[in-house]
């Protein structure tokens, strides 16, 4: 375990989170087309950042920084990391950030088609998931985790958490599609709003079920209960932010321009959604790390090689 590598992976994950916020600010300000060209902004590396160009070019600058950090992270991993699958994940992270940059350019060049913009927002979450996973895999707690047992004849937690993770990811895709389906001065499509609400119910049920099951079955095991508690707390905050975001967004078409309450709350909703996602990723990865695939002890014991995989 290399402490420096882990800290750097955490730095990249934090920078990615900041990038997601910067991207959300672009969407909420309807700044995506503040410049029609890419990768330059109005033909310049550093244009005068006034009006909405501040948000769009600022987003590009943060994205460039994250891209550079990802390159350095990959070099760091290749130099210090022995596990081949972690090295591969590092390569994947670089490929993902390159693809994300190209997708960002494409959405500008094609003037924000819904499918490309939504794909850009979705890949951002997947890239965030990758950087957080790298931070998890290089952490001391991951390396030194000890095996735990599942209760007998219960649904294994790893599957409960996976179900929650899949549902959250679907909800993130829906949220991205909803946000890009109408600019601030138009009403959001009813069908998508209703679907997103339905998705929120799904997330609450699956994540709530998984989180509570972790807290009940593994009380005292901070390795599992900490991410579960964080995920559940963030879920609660996220539901309130969702209601507030809907309320402010409902009024925004009557506003003369995107106003701070709508922008701030909507961006907070996006950011909190990303945090719910990654805290569930951490929880899920950890359940796979320390818990058996089935609730039968014999099965776990029959697969000792799993415990050696770090």
């Amino acid at each position: 375990m290399n402490r420096g590598l882990n800290r750097f992976a955490i730095l990249v994950a934090c920078a990615t989170f900041f990038l997601i916020i910067a991207g959300a600010l672009v969407t909420s300000h309807d700044a995506g087309l503040a410049t029609p060209d890419w990768p330059l902004s109005n033909g310049q590396f550093f244009p005068k950042m006034v009006g909405n160009l501040f948000w769009e070019h600022g987003h590009r600058m943060v994205a460039t920084t994250v891209g550079m950090l990802t390159i350095v992270l990959l070099i760091y991993i290749l130099a210090k990391e022995k596990r081949s699958w972690v090295r591969k994940l590092g390569v994947f992270a670089l490929l993902a950030v390159i693809a994300q940059g190209l997708l960002g350019g494409l959405t500008v060049k094609l003037m924000l088609p819904l499918a490309v913009s939504s794909a850009h927002a979705t890949l951002a979450q997947l890239f965030f998931c990758t950087t957080v996973s790298l931070a998890v895999f290089t952490s001391r707690s991951w390396i030194e985790a000890r095996r735990l047992e599942e209760e007998k004849e219960v649904l294994p937690l790893r599957y409960l958490c996976t179900a929650a993770l899949v549902t959250i990811f679907m909800q993130l895709i829906l949220g991205a599609t909803l946000r890009h389906s109408a600019t601030w001065d138009k009403q959001l499509p009813v069908e998508l709003v209703m679907t997103h609400i339905l998705g929120a119910v799904g997330v609450t049920l699956t994540l709530g079920g998984a989180g509570l099951a972790v807290l009940r079955r593994h009380k005292g095991e901070k390795f599992l209960t900490r991410p579960a508690t964080i995920a559940l707390s963030l879920l609660l905050v996220q539901i309130f932010l969702g209601v507030a975001a809907y309320s402010t967004r409902l009024k925004s078409p009557g506003d003369p321009q995107p106003l701070n309450p709508m922008v701030g709350i909507t961006v907070a909703h996006v950011a909190c959604g990303a945090l719910v996602f990654v805290s569930t990723i951490v929880l899920t990865l950890r359940t796979y790390r320390v818990l058996p695939a089935t609730s039968e002890h014999s099965t776990w014991a029959a697969r000792p090689q799993e415990s050696q995989v770090i």
Binding site: H29, D30, A31, G32, L33, T35, P36, D37, N42, V50, G51, N52, L53, M111, L114, L155, P156, Y159, L160, T162, A163, A164, V166, T167, M170, Q171, I173, L174, S181, A182, D185, K186, Q187, L188, P189, V190, E191, L192, V193, T195, H196, L198, G199, G202, T206, A244, Y246, S247, T248, L250, K251, P253, G254, D255, P256, Q257, P258, L259, N260, P261
Partner: protein, 293 residues
Amino acid sequence: MNKQTRVWLVLSIVLSLLAISSSCGGAKTDGPTANTNGGGAQTGGEKWAGGTGTISGVVSFNGTPPAPRKIDTAADPVCGQKNPNLVTDDTIVKDGKLANVFIYIKEGSVEGGKKIGDYSWDTPATAAKLDQNGCHYAPHILGVMVNQKIQITNSDATQHNIHPTPKLNAEWNQTQPNGAPPIEKAFNRSEVLIPVKCNQHPWMKAYIGVMKHPLFAVSSDTGAYEIKGVPPGKYTVVAWREGQTPEEKPMEVTVTASGAAKADFSFGAAATTSIRPSLQMMPAIEFPMLGKH
């Protein structure tokens, strides 16, 4: 994977797929009414001989007009310096008269029964002008003919980008720095009306009505308008007004041999840029603490 596990996984996948499939029912966004009136690009047909008649009138506003809303120009100080009292211009009412209403002949027949859509018109040689001045489009509503040049100028000491979002014509987005030469563009299909915005200054909005014929006008600050060159005949005249859901008011008008017809329109407060919540069954929760700015 045991049975319970499978049930959980299938449930979550079904829920997600159900959610996605229900969203694919055709998301709609409000916007200006696309209008195919008059066909697309100019086609052949009998040349329009014109006329000497007019259709004129006044557009009124019933009720209390919404107060103009102040625009925060902090994001670009140049806008605030040049236009310190910048306000919204979607509803301009003076003495009960409404400006910026686009009035046009939608369809009809001239005396003799020939339909107006069967004629062809020459494209005007002079370009229509759209200026960006004080971080504000002037005029707010512009009428042009199909393929007529539109000359766009930037009179501000800051950069703008001009971004029309048509439904029938090609969309484009172009930056115009301060001091840059005029941009010349044209639309090759009739469309009522094309929203134009500046993505750098999101409050900047204009609308361009593209018509196959020259029989249109925009109401002035006094609410008055006049469509000239109309021959005797029966026409459907439409008054179009911007809003969350743009409103169109048709009126049947007969232009007699004496050559002058009146058509007054009125719009009400209820039809202003009021927000029509898309989720009527879910009234928004009020957050009084969330003041605007």
